[in-house]
Amino acid sequence: MEQNAWLTDAVARVGDSPRAIVRLFAAAGRHYRPAEEARIRLLHALPAEAVPYWIDDLYRHGDSNEKLAVLRALPDLPLDVEAVPLLHDALRTNDTRLIGAALGPYARHLDQHAWRHAVLKCVFVGVPLEEVDNLDQRADRELAVMVSALRAEREAAGRRLPADAYRLLERIP
């Protein structure tokens, strides 16, 4: 089957029966490229009331690419704060792709303490800060203090922070 036809059919099946998403979501990349586009379309095919349950289920049972698709879909899905635990899970990992994806627009639901630590972790593990949504508006004095302390440690060891971290420090008033 041609890939657009596969996706159209898969979207219809998920609309009829949300449980169908379990296998379709995992196998999407073997029928449609880019896989992430197909996975996000499948998430949008879920009935609104089923979204909180299934994003949690698919994230927790997902491999890294499935987890990434869920995280990237969050801002546009009918959700309130239900998916915040998924952000915390992603931010606990050391997978730079998951950390970056957790800091998209949906991260507005993270409290300021958790958000600052997440940005600091980006600097620490080298996630480009351009992946952090709304960075300039949200960065505060306390974040500047934390990043400056990391800079002092790095520089004492003869190393440097990533260039985007220096630029961030210059921008924080």
């Binding site: 073997r30 890294s64 997978d95």
Partner: protein
Amino acid sequence: MRIFDPHIHMTSRTTDDYGRMAAAGVRAVVEPAFWLGQPRTNPGSFTDYFDSLVGWEPFRAAQFGIRHFATIALNPKEANDPRCRPVLELIPRYLDKDSVVAVGEIGYDAMTPEEDEAFSVQLALAVEYELPALVHTPHRDKAQGVKRTLDVVRESGISSGRVVVDHLNEVTVGEVHDTGCWMGFSIYPDTKMSPPRMVEILRAHGLERVLVNSAADWGKSDPLLTRRTGEAMLEAGFSEDDVDRVLWRNPVEFYGQSGRLDLSETADTGPLFEGSSILRGGS
């Protein structure tokens, strides 16, 4: 020399090993789910382990340009513990993952009725999920274990060309050769199989359907013994192309039967890969 290690337990290896492997030419690995040394006591231990095989471990490998695939199963040793057996119900969901290219390691440890059941149930899963199967053979009573393994494989209805029977030696290779199953050889520092003995087996039985692996894990083992075997082949007069067939094209052909072996991000995968790529049509 490009190397695909078709059986290695990277979870038990250090990040330095990834660096040494990449430098030696290893570009792809398959990590079969197996025992961890310390027996597990509940299904949750397995899911965390399986999650790392499709999550953290591929990420770690990618830092060194190595593609990491996995096989998933309840191993025969722990199939004997009733506390672990419920994991069988959790396995199917993992068999749909893009980087899962076979069911395994399944097979026998002590040849108990519990192992019989777990083995045949999981061979049926391989058929249902259209995956090849990686079959471990016992280290004790191996000759008997291999016989019984081949009987169970035959009864399961899985096509023999989709099964690799692993950890073979001079005594057990002939019987597996005749069945049409693939033959796996684990090259170890002291026991099981050494590079010079492996070369003799290749001379006697040919290169077809042969997989050479390091099976490196937490025991005394060496992830570079695939490379050493390639070097021993060259010294013994095999050609570069022969080495490439055994250490790269054969594992690509075997695991390519999953329809999921995406090597597109691997350097120099060569023309042979094209035919066994992903995105097969249908369904």
